[in-house]
């Protein structure tokens, strides 16, 4: 049996729970999932400006916090903090290890998820909208394949203490230690399916220990300020118990596990992964002790011949402005403010391809139809946002909200504005043989 701790559920996640896992979790592996859908594209932009950058901005802080503990206890680290530059991240990690006196640490980088050049000649169709990768032209920034567990498992088998990858499937970060530790065959689809269930449950860290869950009066979770991160106890046969460090905040219950099982899942019989098509439909969840939940029944079928590739591209510009109204008549003044801005954007000829007029506190989250039954709030916050094809237009949207101070309804306060360029992501499917992952070692 191996114990895998999940030390981060996204790039900005809390750091102390990972330290707690390393210190008190009796774990064999510590996994950090830190790479969002769009993050690689943004990191690629950073790398174009500076060849030594492009990895996770919190890499140094996380590594400094856990490397001494992990080295002392023989805990191996697996992470996608390499983002757009796993080799630079590995070099940085080795440098940190040296500075901490950990001179024998072996750090491996997994490279080869960058498939921009492999994609270009193939004019692959985009899955989310009508168009092809070629049609993105010079707006195309990056193309990164979701790699599977094999190269990471390979790095572990060659003695890596730290494995740093770029784009890889999130569950694969957890599947890799299982494949390495148990010698699972890469065509044992049911084991890979059950291992994927484990990885999927653990990859969002606190979301299975009580985060993103509490609802006072219905679903109570103790001590969310000290939320403990999860540990998966995985057996050679794929058996799985999810638990957390004793005494930490939060809770692991059948309910938290069920919610996380379906998180970001579409058809539960077909959860597409680079290594397997996992089937979650027969999974059972059983509380066997406080904060110990047994998960069984994950299965799998043969992997597909393609890899999903995340394509980053320059999409548009977004401008936004906000201002608040309160007290009697706040709603009417908020509506008047929206009408004024709507007319101003027309009068001044701001060319927006899409505009949105919200009243935060009333209908910003779910729109006017769903929100219609709500009673009048004490305060509302006007929010106008729009999409333009240049920065100048985006700036003018925020300006038209800000000028409400002196030109709009009575009592407008707390105006705020922003304008930004939008790097969006879309997906294509690439024949898997066109991605060529490799392991590169850096000695501390």
């Amino acid at each position: 049996m191996i114990r895998i701790g999940s030390g981060a559920g996204y790039s900005g996640d809390r750091i102390e729970p990972a330290v707690e896992l390393a210190e008190k979790g009796d774990i064999d592996y510590l996994v950090f999932e830190c790479l969002g859908e769009r993050t690689v594209a943004l990191a690629q932009q950073a790398r174009m400006k500076n060849f030594e950058s492009g990895y996770d901005p919190l890499l140094e802080e996380r590594m400094r916090a856990v490397l001494p503990l992990c080295a002392a206890r023989g805990i191996k680290i697996v992470t996608n903090m390499g983002a757009a530059n796993p080799e630079a991240a590995a070099k940085k990690t080795a440098e940190i290890a040296r500075s901490l006196g950990l001179s024998r640490l072996k750090v491996a980088a997994i490279v080869g998820d960058d498939v921009l050049d492999a994609c270009k000649p193939h004019n692959l169709p985009i899955m989310e909208f009508n168009g092809t990768i070629k049609q993105l032209g010079n707006k195309l920034l990056s193309a990164n394949a979701y790699l599977g567990a094999e190269p990471m498992a390979d790095a572990l088998s060659k003695g890596a203490d730290v494995v740093i990858t770029g784009r890889a499937s999130d569950p694969a970060l957890f599947l890799a230690p299982m494949i390495y530790a148990f010698g699972w065959a890469m065509d044992d689809w049911n084991l890979l399916g059950q291992g994927t269930v484990a990885g999927h449950l653990l990859e969002c860290a606190g979301q299975i220990t009580g985060g993103y869950f509490a609802d006072p009066g219905y679903k109570e979770i103790p001590d969310l300020a000290r939320l403990g991160f999860p540990i998966g106890e995985v057996g050679e046969d794929g058996s799985l118990v999810v638990t957390k460090v004793s005494g930490s905040g939060g809770a692991v219950t059948a309910q938290t596990c069920k919610e996380q099982l379906l998180y970001e899942v579409h058809d539960p019989t077909k959860y597409f992964q680079p290594d397997v098509v996992a089937d979650f439909s027969q999974v059972s969840v059983e509380e066997i002790a406080p904060n110990r939940v047994r998960i069984s029944g994950g299965r799998g079928a043969r992997r597909t011949e393609t890899l999903k590739v995340s394509v980053g591209y320059v999409d548009s510009f977004i401008g936004e402005g906000q201002i608040s109204y309160a007290g009697p008549g706040a709603l009417a003044r908020g509506r008047l403010a929206l009408d004024i801005v709507r007319e101003r954007l027309k009068l001044t000829g701001v060319a927006a391809s899409e505009l949105r007029f919200d009243l935060i506190g009333l209908d910003a989250l779910h729109g006017p139809q769903v929100s219609a039954r709500a009673s009048e709030p004490y305060e509302v916050r006007v929010r106008v946002t729009g999409r333009t094809d240049n920065l100048r237009g985006a700036v003018r949207i925020g300006n038209e909200v800000e000028t409400l101070y002196t030109n709009g309804p009575a009592g407008g306060g707390g105006a705020w504005k922003s304008a930004r360029d939008v790097v969006a992501v879309a997906s294509v499917l690439l024949p898997r043989e066109l991605a060529k992952p490799r392991v590169r070692f850096v000695e501390a």
């Binding site: 219905y218 099982l261 579409h266």
Partner: protein, 106 residues
């Protein structure tokens, strides 16, 4: 009664698609979910939010339904103009759905 009384829920996102799980607190209430929380009702409940198709998947082992709602996230999380670009708050809205309790049940 509200759906909130018998079920809990979590929203996930992928591109322009949102998925919402609806999980019965107790297995005995799963048939109520099956009968009353239909894809059509969910689509109607999210009028003005869900522009695409709503698909429902059943998971009897964990007394849960999974709703997959297309064209829901303002063109996709990474380019949406919405305040809640991920649609994380949608699960709470779904729990406001009215459920008719079976006769004799308190």
């Amino acid at each position: 009664m509200k759906l909130r009384e018998i079920a809990h829920s979590r929203t996930g996102d992928k591109g322009n698609t949102s998925n919402i799980s609806v999980i019965a607190y107790e297995a005995k209430d799963y048939p109520l979910l099956l009968e009353q929380v239909t894809a059509d009702r969910v689509k109607a409940h999210f009028a003005g939010v869900v522009e695409g198709e709503v698909l429902r998947y059943e998971l009897p082992n964990i007394s849960a339904l999974n709703f997959v709602m297309g064209q829901t996230l303002g063109g996709g999380v990474t380019r949406s103009l919405a305040l809640d670009a991920h649609g994380k708050s949608l699960s709470s809205a779904l729990l406001d759905l009215e459920i008719v309790a079976p006769a004799g049940d308190k």
